[in-house]
């Protein structure tokens, strides 16, 4: 607990509480880490190893499982698709989100409050409820089964608008006014004054949305049918169920999962602080 006092309880109680803490944290971290570990050891097993429940570690690590995924499977292509589609989407979301958040916080117009209420309400609605009409729109525009369709249907992030709005509200209004007096247009004030001051919100926004777009499954799987347009989740699932691999090629499937998951874990390791400080810190908990 967050108490700032020296612990003056009796020694046995203290030992017990430390034991309890270690036990809970130990169980929790094993519980969360185990699937990753299991994925990685399974990825390196032979077909024989993998069916033998007696052994945990591979007898001889089969690095060829991994290399065959990297060089002889469509998985890298899916990763590439996911990465660049997400990059484009996030870039668009940042621009559109920053502009709307700027308008909500710094511009004066009649419907300002109403606009915020609409955005707020949309945040809570189940996105899946929009899928059928959105699908029809993309079909009408001949954009099904294309990157264009994927991108164009995701150019706005309501979560991002919230995150940025929250960040922008911390900026003293005087700074934007000073920029205006210095001769800056609203556009310049946004990108040269407001944006550098809320860098943390922008980075958190970018990372969070990059990850969730990268991982997104349901919507892309509804609108793309040819494997050349698959994002990673859909591609991985296709690989998982392709001609009966399900149930027989577990080692390869695990290797494919590992190839997909490990880069994300590495990315996360380097950007951890933006997630941990960013999400908890600025996601509009204020009532």
């Amino acid at each position: 607990m967050n108490t700032r006092y020296s612990d003056n309880r009796a020694l046995p109680v203290r030992i017990l509480s430390i034991l309890g803490k270690v036990l809970i944290l130990g169980t929790a971290s094993i519980f969360t880490a185990f699937p990753f570990i299991w994925m990685m050891v399974s990825a390196l097993k032979t077909k024989a190893d993998i069916l033998n429940t007696e052994i945990f570690f591979p007898t001889v690590p089969q690095w060829s499982n991994i290399t065959s995924i990297i060089f002889d499977s469509p998985i890298p292509r899916y990763i590439f698709n996911s990465a660049w589609v997400s990059a484009v989407i996030v870039a668009l979301q940042i621009v559109s989100g920053a502009m709307l958040a700027y308008a909500l916080v710094f511009l004066k117009f009649r419907t300002n409050k109403m606009l915020f209420a609409i955005v707020m309400a949309t945040y809570m609605l189940p996105v899946a409820a929009t899928y059928i009409p959105s699908y029809i729109i993309l079909a009408d525009w001949k954009m099904l089964d294309s990157f264009r369709g994927l991108i164009i249907s995701s150019t706005v992030s309501i979560f991002g608008i919230f995150l940025l709005r929250q960040g922008f509200m911390q900026i003293p209004k005087g700074l934007v006014e000073a920029a205006r007096m210095d001769g800056a247009s609203h556009w310049r004030a946004l990108w040269e004054v407001v944006c550098p001051m809320t860098k943390a919100s922008f980075i958190t926004f970018g990372l969070m949305n990059f990850i969730s777009t990268y991982n997104n499954y349901m919507w892309p799987s509804l609108i793309t049918k040819s494997s050349e347009y698959f994002l990673v989740s859909q591609g991985l699932r296709a690989f998982f169920i392709r001609d009966g691999a399900y149930g027989t090629e577990w080692a390869l499937v695990m290797a494919a999962s590992a190839v997909v998951v490990i880069p994300l874990l590495v990315l996360f390791a380097f950007t951890q602080k933006w997630f941990i400080n960013g999400i908890g810190g600025e996601t509009g908990i204020k009532g």
Binding site: P172, A178, D182, G183
Partner: protein
């Protein structure tokens, strides 16, 4: 270098509140104008309307003869120094000062030269690579001014620029601002709630209250010839003493009858009082503390007990509790009076001010 005219300017908010009520103000080229008044009097709103940061609900604003109500702040060519300095925290001092020139696409070497000149004139040469977070209050203040100076704007607006500084620094910066005005030779509009600041800096002071202009004048006139009771009370420290009295005939002249005695009116004042038809009526009188003197019982206007004797160095303030009023006297340090002692006070008749008790307008100064 600009002439600014406000014609019947009003600011009304969404909820119907009028922050500024139909004011008229002419600011000539190169004038140093001070808007002063208590908080909520509309002085900052007026300044922000001139800057373009608030829209004008009604009336017209002219800059050099051109109506600029609908010109956005970025196109007005007016610079402003904000109360909290509003320095860009992510830019260095150099970048802060250079920002407006960068926007105007001034060539790099010219920017460099101008930034260095401005920095030299403000003593900021050694701080150019610092960020605002690493500066003291006084240094931030200088950077904020530098940012305004570098543009050679048509007019300078300053919104309570010294209110975040400690008293000593404030005195120093006041001198620097006055000096700056002399050097730059351009129009200054300066907002403050501090009348001392207003009196020491301005050549033309606009006293405001509740969104209206009470008086526009130079410091001497404001002090000696206030238009109304509000201005009389707002300008000068310690503040003017106010008390009730009745005008009566006595011999050839008029007197102001007070509770404990009377004050004879000078011929000049008596004429004004007669002209206004105030003989026999109640008025509000005002006298500045420096025009109150000790007296003997016979010629006293007030009688009371000393409640506080405050020694301020060469001068001293004596607070006297009279029956209804508390009279403040500003005198020299040798006039020590013991707490609780009964004393008698008179006033310098020539310095008496009389006000209409209803409208608070001046009857005579």
């Amino acid at each position: 270098m600009a002439e600014i005219i406000l014609k019947n300017v009003t600011k009304e908010y969404e909820n119907g509140f009028q922050a500024v009520k139909n004011i008229n103000l002419e600011i000539k080229d190169n004038e140093f104008v001070i808007l002063v008044g208590p908080s909520g009097c509309g002085k900052s709103t007026t300044l922000r309307m001139i800057a373009g940061l608030e829209d004008i609900s009604d009336g017209d604003l002219y800059l050099d003869g051109k109506r600029i109500n609908d010109v956005s702040p970025q196109d007005r060519d007016i610079a402003m120094v904000f109360q909290n300095y509003a320095l860009y925290p992510h830019m260095t001092v150099y970048q802060n000062i250079a920002y407006s020139l960068k926007i105007k696409k001034v060539p790099k070497d010219e920017i460099d030269k101008r930034v260095k000149d401005v920095a030299a004139s403000l003593g900021l040469e050694n701080l150019l690579d610092r960020r605002p977070g690493q500066l003291s209050g006084g240094q931030k203040q200088r950077v904020a001014m530098g940012r305004a100076i570098i543009r050679h704007p048509k007019a300078f607006l300053m919104d309570e620029p010294l209110s975040n500084l400690d008293a000593k620094l404030r005195g120093q910066m006041r001198v620097e601002i006055a000096d700056l005005y002399r050097r730059l030779n351009t129009t200054f509009i300066y907002v403050t709630h501090d009348q001392t600041e207003a009196m020491t800096l301005g050549t033309k002071i606009v006293v405001m209250k509740d969104g209206e202009i009470m008086q526009i004048d130079n410091p001497t006139n404001l002090f000696n010839y206030p238009n109304n009771k509000f201005v009389a009370g707002f300008i000068g420290t310690p503040t003017m003493n106010f008390f009730e009295g009745e005008i009566e005939e006595k011999g050839d002249g008029l007197i102001l009858k007070t509770r404990d005695g009377f004050i004879p009116l000078t011929a000049e004042k008596a004429a004004k009082v007669r002209e206004g038809g105030w003989v026999g009526k109640k008025v509000t009188a005002g006298i500045r503390p420096e025009h109150v003197e000790l007296s003997d019982q016979d010629s006293a206007a007030f009688r009371g007990e000393v409640s506080v004797f405050e020694l301020l160095g060469s001068n001293a303030i004596i607070y006297t509790q009279c029956q209804d009023d508390r009279i403040i006297m500003n005198t020299d340090q040798t006039q020590y009076q013991e707490h609780g002692k009964e004393i008698f006070l008179k006033v310098k008749e020539a310095k008496l001010h009389l006000f209409d008790p209803e409208t608070e307008r001046t009857i005579t100064n």
